[in-house]
Assembly symmetry: C2
Homo-oligomer: 209 residues x 2
């Protein structure tokens, strides 16, 4: 139930509409958690039903309305309960590892292409996470500024430190994935230089001789 807690945590900064929350969770640079609007709107309704958020229906123009959600005491208690409960570890599935483990069924070209995409993805991600770290340091993140404005000065250092720590984790992970992809490309180069055949090459050229 992490989506619920991601929403609650975001609402501690300020009351927001579903639409505003969607923008935070839907963006290409999703902040720590991502979700499409088809997940967010129903979840907000369920949170309302469960008494974790309070809704204010605000008119917008002549005919339209919007629903502004605020976290309430029960919601804050639930967020803190979740924060203090241990999250159990279970094996996660990584389709990239699975694919690489059986690259002998692929071709050098396709294998290289996948690893290059991996490299590209995490290189880009690394730049983004590092930019976010810099933005946090410079207090350029508007939601963070609003959150700080709500809390006493003495808590600010912790809020900043934990937000940075989370992105720092993504930075370390991105660097590990980059190093891995580079190792993988080196492995491919070496095998190909030795002339080691891959089984996928046959399939790749069904019209070949």
């Amino acid at each position: 139930m992490s989506l619920r807690h991601a929403l609650l945590a975001t609402l501690t900064a300020q009351p927001m509409t579903g639409y505003e929350l969607v923008k935070y969770f839907d963006g290409s640079v999703a902040y720590v958690w991502s979700a499409p609007h088809s997940q967010i709107y129903p979840e907000l309704r369920r949170m309302e039903r469960d008494g974790l958020v309070t809704v204010e229906v605000v008119p917008r123009g002549e005919r339209a309305e919007k629903r502004v959600y605020s976290i309430n005491e029960a919601g804050l208690a639930e967020l803190q309960r979740w924060e203090q409960a241990p999250i159990p570890y279970q094996s996660d599935r990584d389709p990239y590892r699975l694919k690489v483990a059986h690259f002998e069924q692929s071709t050098y070209e396709a294998a290289r292409s996948q690893l290059e995409a991996h490299l590209h993805h995490f290189t880009r991600a690394l730049r983004e996470w590092e930019q976010i770290l810099a933005d946090i340091d410079a207090r350029r993140v508007s939601l963070l500024r609003r959150r700080l404005g709500q809390r006493p000065e003495e808590e600010h250092e912790a809020i900043i430190a934990f937000r940075k720590l989370a992105f720092r984790g993504e930075v370390l992970k991105a660097r590990a994935e980059i190093a891995w992809a580079e190792e993988g490309l080196a492995v491919l180069d070496e095998l190909q230089a030795k002339g080691v055949p891959l089984r996928g090459e046959e399939f790749a050229k069904p019209a070949g001789h």
Copy 2:
């Protein structure tokens, strides 16, 4: 549809029953992919229906039977097609990052406890992955030996190299997570030494003053 391809890839080593596949995918040390038997049995039936595997029903004792699955040509073609198709990247959700990002809602004790669990989990995982790497090098993995026995000598080097590369990725990832958890624990120590308050402390002791 990675489960399907994980099953197909495993079956390239040798024909197996659902039960044997369950053991490979259900173990605490799941090899690159994991799945419970409730997922594996129905998927094998679907793969049979789709003509990717061939089944031999073998009697077992007097009354019982078992179903031995073999990958066939269509299955191998599908595996190779999947291997050569790019897997798109999408943002993944990490509940540990989310939790850490909002540690100010927790307590020093609970926060430390989560990071220690993180450290413990990935330290253990690291040992396991390194053990597997050593086992592969020493050809102590029975399924791998059988797989090699099926393929010409010239392909062996690639099969070994890719299997190791996959686990090497897990090793690098585990090291990154360990480094992150250690950084996190250091952050907690520093904040606590400075007396920075966390908001969860109030909630943690509702009977307190």
